[in-house]
């Protein structure tokens, strides 16, 4: 199944300024976003995610490379000639217009007949559940409501792609959770491609079909939320999304793509290896805290150590364990499915068992 492509960025670079003070906001970025996809650009501030969004919207021109919208080169078209709409971080609602006038703006600029404008506006008001407030000024509604209006305004002209620039960052936690579900609902209902920019990993994981993790102007990994979370390929991705333990191991043997690696405890396990990892090489394993099982000392385990401290979080309990033979601390998270159990205390020796597929070898 080859879904149609909505947006394609090919070898895009964006340099701000010139000379020694130049900033390379995007460094040879290529990405293909499918139609109907909820695609998220995730990364810390300054990673280039907003710049990429602005290049797709047309507020900036790329220094190098091309941007295709449904196969058509748009990199040098002004924003008003691109069938793409944006939900701004600050919402940017027109303060001199009512809610309904804001939503109608794009349609009117496209020169749609009055009847069509009206019916689309009422459909949009219904979609974002703002029918009662349609004649209010945008200054007379709450932040969450402004957010909905901004969304309706951007969706009304039925863009090929909707760009969302950290639209939930100004909302409080409860409202943000609600809007996450709302956004996903609207994306499914309208069938429009969403490109969502955020620095919030949880937001990215809960809403996206695919996520591109960015750092320092580059895309490090693209994948579904589960791929990104469970199979990070580089240290930055593993570290940025969720909590991760990094454990050094040594390659002992290699047969085809299968290898034998030695854990710090001296135990050797089999694990598939990447192409450029030879015998004797050091590799870093990324292991999520919830994928580690604590077992009694003496029973079969991959690692062992001493419990340093225990932090109770209600739904789960976190154990900080110092590895035997090294100063490294490993975080282990155990769900409290049978309530709080006081089996372990600080100073106890424990074994740690990890499923081989939960150990992810990182590229660097």
């Amino acid at each position: 199944m080859s879904a149609a492509v909505a947006v394609e960025a090919k070898n895009v670079s964006k340099i701000f300024g010139a000379g020694p003070g130049e900033v390379r906001a995007l460094d040879n970025v290529s990405v293909t976003i499918q139609q109907n996809e909820f695609f998220t650009l995730l990364g810390p501030s300054g990673c280039g995610k907003t710049t990429l969004l602005r290049l797709i919207a047309g507020f900036e021109m790329p220094t190098e490379g091309s941007i295709l919208l449904e196969g058509e080169e748009v990199a040098h078209l002004p924003p008003f000639k691109r069938h793409v709409n944006t939900v701004f971080q600050s919402y940017a609602l027109f303060p001199h217009m009512t809610v309904a006038q804001n939503i109608a703006f794009g349609l009117e600029m496209l020169g749609k007949p009055k009847a069509e404008v009206q019916s689309t506006v009422s459909a949009m008001l219904k979609l974002v559940r703002m029918e009662e407030l349609k004649d209010r000024r945008t200054s007379q509604i709450s932040g969450g409501q402004q957010q909905r209006v901004a969304l309706a305004r951007a969706l009304a002209p039925r863009p090929k792609v909707l760009l969302l620039d950290e639209p939930l960052s100004a909302l409080d936690l409860k409202l943000r959770k609600e809007m996450q579900i709302e956004l996903k609902r609207m994306q499914l209902e309208t069938g429009i491609t969403f490109i969502f920019v955020t620095h919030d990993q949880e937001e990215a994981l809960t809403m996206s079909d695919r996520i591109a993790v960015m750092s320092k102007g580059k895309i490090l990994q693209i994948g579904s939320p589960t791929e990104i979370y469970e199979h990070p390929t580089v240290r930055f991705v593993a570290d940025f999304i969720g909590e991760t333990n990094f454990i050094e191991a040594e390659v002992m043997q290699r047969i085809g793509s299968d290898g034998q690696i030695k854990l710090p405890s001296g135990i050797v396990i089999s694990h598939p290896l990447g192409e450029n990892v030879g015998v004797g090489a050091k590799v870093t394993l990324a292991i999520r805290p919830e994928r580690i099982d604590l077992v009694r000392p003496g029973t079969e385990a991959h690692l062992s150590g001493t419990v340093e401290n225990i932090v109770y979080f209600g739904t789960d309990t976190t154990f900080h364990v110092e590895l035997e033979g090294s100063q490294q601390e490993v975080t282990v998270r155990v769900q409290n499915r049978r309530g709080h159990q006081e089996v372990l205390k600080a100073g106890d020796t424990v074994g740690m068992r990890i499923a081989p597929e939960a150990m992810q070898i990182l590229k660097d």
Binding site: G58, F59, F80, H96, M109, P157
Partner: protein, 280 residues
């Protein structure tokens, strides 16, 4: 006219952080003297405009007679109409020019020479008025000789020119405070640059434009130095007419005209402040 600021509950604070100039000894006294110096002459002027007698110093009872006489004075009528015509023309033209200048200096990429342009636009604020006046006198004299034209055009041009910076400053301030993402949003929603200006920038800029126009109007209405030097015979504006009259006999009629003038200015300036204060 200046309203007292609402008194905030004061909490005793230590020196440094909570330093309050109002608590300095003599602050109230100095403030009172300043207010007195500023407003006592004006209040006297307004009070004597209602004097029934012909003196501007001896009170002889209340009357509207000087307002009536000023209203009926053909020369006053003539000068007032000329003043208002010039002020209206100068305000409109200078505001249009100032709006374009403000857009060009805030909505384009910063270009080399921008600072020079700022200085250039604001030049009338910096060059002494008498210098501008003399320069215009000589310059226009040459044109008068060459063309023979002696109409109101010279005053209109001169007033428009020195009103531009007054109109420019509030408009530019408004543009600089405006959220740029609004115009970006309009462009994103298929508005061409012209439509963006027409439907978003201009409506949001209106208070600034009105404020600028209002200020330009008051500045033009009030001008003496340049007008005095540029005007041809029989082209008195209200201020130059008043100046001329003061050299002869002073009657409360002058007070009456001044009071009306003052009232107009206060109304204009008040509107200016109200417009400028309303920020979104």
């Amino acid at each position: 006219m200046a309203e007292a600021a609402p008194v905030k509950p004061t909490t005793p604070k230590k020196w440094g952080r909570g330093f309050d100039v109002r608590k300095q000894t003599g602050f109230t006294t100095i403030a009172m003297i300043c207010f007195l110096m500023l407003y006592a002459p004006i209040l006297t002027l307004v009070a004597y405009s209602f004097n029934a007698g012909t003196s501007v110093a001896i009170w002889e009872g209340f009357s509207w007679r000087w307002y009536e006489s000023a209203w009926a004075n053909v020369q006053v009528q003539d000068a007032s109409i000329r003043s208002l015509t010039i002020a209206a023309f100068a305000a409109v033209v200078s505001t249009v020019v100032a709006t374009m200048a403000a857009l060009a200096t805030t909505r384009t990429k910063p270009f080399p020479g921008l600072t020079f342009i700022y200085a250039f636009i604001n030049q009338p604020l910096m060059v002494p008025e008498i210098v501008t006046g003399v320069a215009l006198l000589i310059f226009f004299a040459a044109i008068k000789v060459a063309t023979g034209y002696t109409g109101l055009g010279y005053l209109l041009i001169a007033h428009t020119a020195f009103c531009i910076p007054f109109a420019y400053l509030p408009i530019r301030a408004r543009l600089e405070n405006m959220d740029l993402s609004l115009e970006r949003a309009a462009a994103d929603l298929y508005a061409t640059p012209f439509k963006t200006f027409r439907h978003v920038t201009l409506p949001l800029l209106w208070p600034g434009i009105l404020a600028g126009g209002m200020l330009a109007f008051v500045i033009s209405l009030d001008d003496v130095v340049i007008t005095e030097l540029v005007k041809s015979g029989g082209q008195d504006t209200l201020p130059t007419y008043m100046l001329g009259q003061l050299r002869r006999i002073v009657t409360p009629e002058m007070n009456a005209i001044s009071s009306v003038f003052l009232a107009i200015s206060i109304v204009m300036v008040t509107i200016f402040f109200l417009l400028n204060r309303k920020k979104t």
